[in-house]
Symmetry: C2
Subunit: 217 residues, 2 copies
DNA sequence: AAAATTTGTTAGTCTTGCCTAACTTTTATA
DNA sequence: TATAAAAGTTAGGCAAGACTAACAAATTTT
């Protein structure tokens, strides 16, 4: 049985490895993700190695074992199902679901999650556009192009966000953006890379950082 | 902010004071309810006194303060709403809901609970027949007579259970009993108080202990 | 009322998960 | 390549929540 804290470490490790495809995961980065100090993360890595959820040697690379990855994906499954429930059934808004799901994802009951999945009609994506793993841990992986990769004059469709923080999502909403919205890239500034976009007749300027956090297709 | 553990202590204190109306709550009894040793319960009592959720002096009586009682009732509200959700929406059986609700009751989000309440149509009773407190902490208090109090030859209706353990509830189901069922008391044995009951044409014998855990009207 | 039993309390220890401070290894830079 | 910077590690401490063992107070029994 894993503690909530251990589960959070596994989830963070999965997230980091999936986000920075090729980059390697480090103690510092892991610690930053979890808002703890590197020393703390280091302690936990030893513990998770002991329990064989991660592979790693002193000063070496950190990798989830198959078992660790399975656990981590299951937590993601729970998180995204709860987000979907909050959004679809309880009428939570897009940017409110994450925080509560962070708590709900640690509830231990396979039966509960399977029944919730069924109740929601086996959804494939959560309210942020992220794929929901099935009982076997499989999930649809859509190719994620960032808004920042779109050429001037091209249009695209918003399919997901990279950052689930409330502050980011509220900004997204403020710009009139939402899942499946059509976005046209009007221009880019040479100076700082600011991008001018048009959404439903409305033009706005967004930063490169912002554009790197919006997935489109 | 209260920890899950602290919440469980408050809940246990409320439960004990409501069950044994006049009897006084003791360290030992509290410890037994929470599956900890008396010394542990004692430590926590000091802490809860410090935070002014309980009133008590060394070797003296233990009482929840108004604040403590409010907190405790709110946890009960959450617990019973979750049980109702599991039973009504997710198709859990009567005897499975308690365990999962024990975890769900600690999720911190007032918004979540209010929305859940609304989604369930503001239910007044949970699947075990226990009243669900409203946002103000008020709840319907129905007079609870025990099956063991029913006279020979009399009939009654089952309205709630005193013990939510899976083992007890499964036994209830096995006897063909459920909420709102009509129960007729056929006879009582002088020897050990065993009671013969009839439910939907079916006769069974139940122990005094069992009969003291079934509320009827 | 004294003795025995039950109930309640204190002191000291353990584990988990976090911290700081100091140190070591690796990587980047001059 | 030597040195500076960054990243990673270790040692020692702290708070929460549990435990055991020993002790104190209250209650029951004789």
């Amino acid at each position: 049985m894993l503690s909530n804290t251990e589960e959070n470490y596994l989830k963070a490790l999965l997230k980091i490895t999936l986000l920075n495809e090729n980059e390697q995961v480090g103690t510092n980065e892991l610690a930053k993700h979890l808002n703890v100090k590197p020393a703390t993360a280091n302690d936990m890595l030893k513990k998770l190695k002991e329990k064989s959820f991660v592979e790693y040697e002193k000063y070496g690379k950190i990798n989830l074992t198959d078992e660790g990855k399975t656990k981590a994906i299951y937590i993601v499954r729970k998180h995204r199902l709860w987000e979907t429930f909050l959004y679809e059934k309880l009428d939570f808004s897009w940017d409110e679901v994450h925080e509560v799901a962070e708590q709900l994802e640690h509830i231990q009951s396979t039966k509960l999650i399977d029944k919730l999945d069924k109740y929601l009609n086996f959804p494939l994506f959560d309210p942020h556009g992220d794929p929901i793993p099935n009982t076997k841990g499989e999930f649809l992986s859509i190719y994620k192009k960032k808004l920042s990769d779109v050429e001037i004059g091209q249009s695209c469709k918003m399919v997901a966000v990279r950052d689930n923080s409330s502050s980011f999502l509220q900004y997204v909403v403020k710009l009139g953006l939402g899942l499946n919205n059509q976005i046209k890239v009007i221009s880019k500034q040479d100076f700082d890379g600011t991008i001018e976009i048009e959404v439903e007749e409305k033009k706005s300027f967004v930063s490169t950082k912002f554009a790197e956090n919006l997935f489109v297709i």
